[in-house]
Amino acid sequence: MGHVIVVDLGFGDAGKGTVVDHLCRAGAAEVVVRFNGGAQAAHNVVAPDGRHHTFAQFGSGTFTPGVRTHLSRFVLIDPLALAAEADHLRALGVPDALDRLTVDGEALLTTPYHRAANRARESARGAARHGSCGMGIGETASYALAHDDAPRAADCLSPARLRRRLAAVRDWYRDAFPGGEDVPGADACAEAFTAFAERVRIVGAGHLHALLRAGNVVFEGAQGVLLDEWHGFHPYTTWSTTTSANAETLLAEAGASAARLGVLRAYATRHGPGPFVTEDPALTADLPDPHNGTGRWQGAFRVGHLDAVALRYALEVTGGVDGLAVTHLDVAGARPDLRVCHSYEMDGERVGRLEAGPPDLDRQAALTRRLLAARPVYTPLGDPVATIEDALGAPVVLRSHGPTSSDKRADHFRTTIDLSVR
């Protein structure tokens, strides 16, 4: 099969986890590489025997014995949440997840101080909150931009430096949010982070190059392209490059390449606030997501109809895909009232394409304002696979009809990438 990049073409929650799980289970990949986001990722995988895990920092292929996870330098590492996730995996009968994990030493660390700052800032926004997960991801990224000594994974190997850098983050948090929640001391944090480094292998960039030479790698994106820090609908975005760009960078450094697989549901979802042109409260009521409730920090899970305008925009900003994976086809089959939106009524005209361009948050904010007032123009969904292929001009190579890997059907005869099992 070769290497594959898996990106979500919507606002997240399309089913990247189940697609990655399928690729690993089918033997099409031995290593999962994460290339954006951090511990706030929530990729739900249900094993055929019913075990369920929400993958955050471990690759969604971890249920398959021997499949490794590598967290690249673009991932924000949360050693505390990682321990809890490993504990849950252990409880599910996966005792060696930490043994199969490697972390790039350059990766930034998310600390309890970043998380507390995130919550303090989001609380201050009141009703205008951005839909943050409250995990400190954005604070980790922004702190690193302003501070050269932001803690990174490799610092955990140098106790004195680690302690110094953690104390600096703690002081910064205390100064910026004097009324913020209580946080643990730098010593306690340093102890836990040191324990992390004693347990998890921290590696250089060469490790990924060796992995890419040794076998097939699947790059698992987090969040969705429509939440991209530069191309999403500002300010309702995540502080992360959610397109395939980071994965392409890592591949280029290693002299390798990969096929690009875009994942979407047969309908649209959005978790949290922000523009959602095809939102349908009736669908929200009828199609609750078993793994996505209303979050304390994130807000409600919202459901709507397939949005070809937004999907085409996502394809454009991520640079296209070689194939599509469509999930929740079982739901689509049971809902003949599902529709597809090919254009918006926006600013008094009919718009089928959203303008994309180089990073410009003012332009994105203006686009957000227009989208908040846009109205969808619908036609019946019909056969979702045919409709999606026609609307997006890319072949559907993997169809998912249920939560587990056994509900997936590879369709490799008409496609440029072969997702068939070995």
């Binding site: 949360d78 292998r201 076998g215 995540t238």
Partner: protein, 323 residues
């Protein structure tokens, strides 16, 4: 767009990591095994091979054999933890394009359960699996000797390496320990632990000569180890290997030392560049590696004029030490 599913409690995390530390890095050994893992058992092995392939057209064989008895405690675990760094450094910085690494462990044939364990030459993370299967002997005899001669016998007569066989380019053999070898590889022990039986015992000096035809052979003595300050140990190995005995004051730097030694020998770097690469990779090993390799680096200049052209030294012991 995601969630915060997992606990972020600092004390719970520390307890969790500590509780699981070391539990499975050496799963085989830690699981209570008392015999050599079948995959690493040298008995009856004709040859361990490092072969060129489509993926690795110019393979380079690198053997790493280390003492697994008590006095060397943490070396195997350190090696396993830092293995990806070793491979990464070699590849990323272009010291070697296609390394094939073999791991082996050395004990004492007179009293140990596992006097010799030898994995395969591997080009990828399967070498990791080999490390995980190593039986950590612990304990160790009081005679300040380990059966390195048996390991050298195996490497000399039971390995086939394309880098040399096809291209006349020597591989690398690193041994890591803090004790003497026995003066001869005894025919009875060879029969028992390797298989086949030579007509007579093989003196260690002869094994070194055989080995040095096909491998650059190094012995690393970690200064922190129990016997390492011992003059007799230093003299013993220095007499056999000359300046290819390295004294390392920080066990944690063993992977970096191996990588830079190869980089120097391959003429890919000078010591300054190599130390720069370590710093770049976030390694703190630079100072220790620098001290260990300072002498090698000083001796590096003559390499270009003294090394024997490939193929010409195949007929007998090399007249010059390559480094």
């Amino acid at each position: 767009m995601g969630s915060g599913n997992w606990s972020t409690d600092v004390y719970a995390a520390r307890a969790s990591y500590r509780a699981s530390t070391g539990a499975s890095a050496f799963a085989y050994s830690d699981g209570g095994a008392t015999a050599v893992h079948p995959d690493l058992d040298p008995r009856g092995v004709t040859v361990r091979e490092s072969r060129d392939s489509a993926d690795h057209p110019e393979s380079l064989a690198i053997g790493v054999l280390f003492d697994v008895t008590g006095s060397m405690g943490t070396v195997p675990r350190t090696l396993q933890a830092k293995l990806p760094d070793l491979l990464g450094l070699l590849l990323r910085k272009g010291y070697v394009e296609h390394p094939h690494i073999l791991f082996g462990a050395v004990g004492d044939a007179t009293c140990d359960r596992a006097p010799l364990q030898v994995g395969q030459f591997e080009a990828d993370n399967r070498m990791d699996d080999d490390l995980g299967k190593i039986l950590l002997e612990g304990g160790g005899g009081g005679q300040m000797r380990e059966s390195y001669e048996l390991a050298m016998y195996f490497m000399a007569r039971h390995t086939a390496i394309d880098c040399f066989d096809k291209r006349g380019k020597r591989g690398y053999l690193f041994m890591i320990g803090d004790e003497l070898a026995y003066p001869k590889a005894k025919r009875r022990e060879i029969a028992r632990f390797v298989g086949g039986e030579p007509d007579e015992d093989v003196p260690i000096a002869e094994l070194v000569r055989e080995l040095q035809r096909r491998y650059d052979v190094y012995f690393i003595i970690p200064e922190g180890a129990y016997h390492s300050g011992n003059r007799e140990v230093k003299d013993f190995w220095q007499e056999l290997l000359g300046q290819n005995v390295l004294y390392l004051d920080d066990l944690d730097a063993v992977c970096e030392t191996i990588a830079l030694t190869i980089g120097l020998a391959e003429d890919a770097i000078d010591l300054g560049e190599g130390l720069g690469h370590l710093a770049e990779a976030g390694s703190d090993a630079g100072a220790s590696v620098s001290r260990a390799l300072a002498r090698l680096d000083a001796a590096r200049a003559p390499v270009a004029v003294s090394s024997t052209p490939p193929g010409l030294d195949a007929a007998g012991p090399s007249a010059t030490t390559r480094l």
